[in-house]
Amino acid sequence: MNRKPDVNAAELRGRYPQVFDRPASSRMATPVVLAVALAIFVFGLVDLDFSPSRFISGLSQLGWISMMMIPPDPGSSLPIYLKALGETLSIALLGTTLAAVLALPVSLLAARNVVPSIILRFPVRRFLDSIRGVDTLIWALVWINVVGLGPFAGVLAIAVSDFGAFGKLFSEAIEGADQRQVEGIRASGGSALHEIRFGLMPQVLPVIAGQVLYFIESNTRSATIIGIVGAGGIGLQLAEQIRVLEWQKVSFLILMILVAVAGIDFISGKLRFAIIGRRAIA
């Protein structure tokens, strides 16, 4: 049962030149890209002071730190941590809501099917892009300069940086909306505002609600870190405990964050399904 298939290799070669005789440029593309990627990688390792000895001593330090983290133990500060966690969740919720409320009107201005004029649309889009180009942590630092240390600066930081993201996402959702309903409203004599209210919004709102819920989820993560620069919440406690090397408290705080994020994930997943699912049935 070792029958060789009777094919003529030369004939096959002749019939499929694109498989057997690919030009050198297409054959070499992948190896060249890989080699360049690797070269930059090695250059990066050298330039960024990677050395095996540093790596190994760091790893042993890390192992030691992990040993010190077990078991997680809040000591006597559990009430403070719970309050800080509440603060973090509040920051995420308020910041996201504020961002969504502010972004909705602006996103209309950035959508092609609402504002056809590119002269008006272009600056709005670039404005949103520049806001998104600046990290939440930087916004937090700026707001701390304005309203002082504390969670309120965190709320404003999240609101501003999400404003940029929402503006883009919402305007994409609006551009993806079905234009026929808008035309229907126009045909029955509706004004431009009616077109938006009754033609666009019913289509777009469930999508937007889904995105907002998703952002509340991801902002719970962002809200945990803006505390590191002093904008309130559990990140403040975490950074402090890391600086004073209280590893058991650190691991407890990390666990708290993981549990909180998982909880929010679960709730917003259910809500999103409820909103989008109902939409799909209707």
């Binding site: 790596f55 760091g58 790893l59 969740l89 509040s90 809501t97 180009g133």
Partner: protein
């Protein structure tokens, strides 16, 4: 012009109207209940977050004037009147920016390699054993839920100050994020090639290499590029905790009120992020285009 509109008999119309009103009323009630709950949550959280509208309105002028100040040179002129003075440290900043890009590149690459190695175990359709899938999934979840900067804080203590901590922090976070995305691509892959390869007696590894990999590699590259884009932003703040890159300069400038420096560094960061976005967007477009054609 006459239009014939058929009008329903009165009592039939009344019945339909009532049914419509009832349906709408129920929907409105549900919306209202949701809204009340939501507003209640907002109020509770605004107490939790110490929202103080008076502070906000008193100091909101500061927010506007902050931008006024960062756009003014020490000499009192607007920054764009003397660009050389504004970007006095451009050479140093570009070097740090280069370091930032390298941090995100090396971090993304390490993360992508680890994610690549792990994702076949995390995907529903290719994982060799359920317990393995469970473990790998939890591991990836952990790596992406803990924020990168928290890893950086810990790594700065373990590996010392400098870009190495930043690279490792970004690598771990990227492993988590990419591992999940990669495994989702694998779950969407066509399983018929796998059956074909397996029927020739190939091992699990060969199945992955010859049946799955050709289907998913463009998607992998696309997600890795997207991650690189995100990581550039992330790396620009790693310096806040001493993990290398331009963040170090930025936080010093903000904390010490070197106003015009703040705007100059921010502008360089924003321009770089733009350029990276555009480049990776273009490359990703080409990758997906190629995938669609074959």
């Amino acid at each position: 012009m006459t239009i014939a509109v058929s009008i329903l008999p009165e009592q039939q119309l009344a019945g339909l109207n009532a049914a419509y009103r009832k349906a709408v009323a129920r929907k409105r009630l549900r919306l209202l209940a949701g809204l009340v709950l939501f507003v209640a949550a907002l109020i509770v959280s605004s107490i939790g977050a110490e929202v103080n509208l008076r502070t906000f309105f008193t100091y909101f002028g500061n927010f506007i004037s902050y931008f006024d100040r960062i756009l003014t040179l020490d000499s009192g002129q607007r920054v764009w009147t003397n660009v050389g003075e504004w970007f006095w440290g451009l050479h140093k900043w570009l070097k740090l920016l280069g370091e930032t890009l390298l941090i995100s590149y090396v971090g993304t690459l390490i993360g992508a390699v680890f994610a690549f190695a792990l994702n076949f175990f995390a995907a529903e359709n290719t994982s060799p054993a359920p317990w393995l899938r469970f473990t790998v999934r939890r591991l990836l979840e952990f790596a992406r839920t803990v924020p990168g900067i928290v890893f950086a804080l810990i790594f700065v203590i373990a590996f010392g100050l400098g870009p190495m901590a930043g690279v490792l922090a970004i690598a771990i976070h990227s492993t988590g994020a990419l591992g999940k995305l990669f495994s989702e691509i694998v779950e969407n892959a066509d399983m018929k090639p796998v059956e074909g390869i397996r029927s020739t007696g190939a091992s699990w590894l060969s199945c992955m290499r010859f049946a799955i990999l050709p289907q998913v590699s463009a998607g992998y590259a696309s997600y890795a590029l997207l991650r690189f884009e995100i990581n550039v932003r992330e790396a620009s703040v790693m310096g806040f905790v001493g993990a290398g890159g331009i963040g170090q300069e930025l936080i010093v400038a903000i904390r010490k009120f070197y106003y015009s420096d703040v705007s100059a560094i921010l502008v360089t960061i924003i321009v770089t992020v733009f350029l990276i976005d555009i480049t990776t967007g273009w490359v990703r477009g080409r990758l997906f285009g190629k995938e669609a054609r074959t």
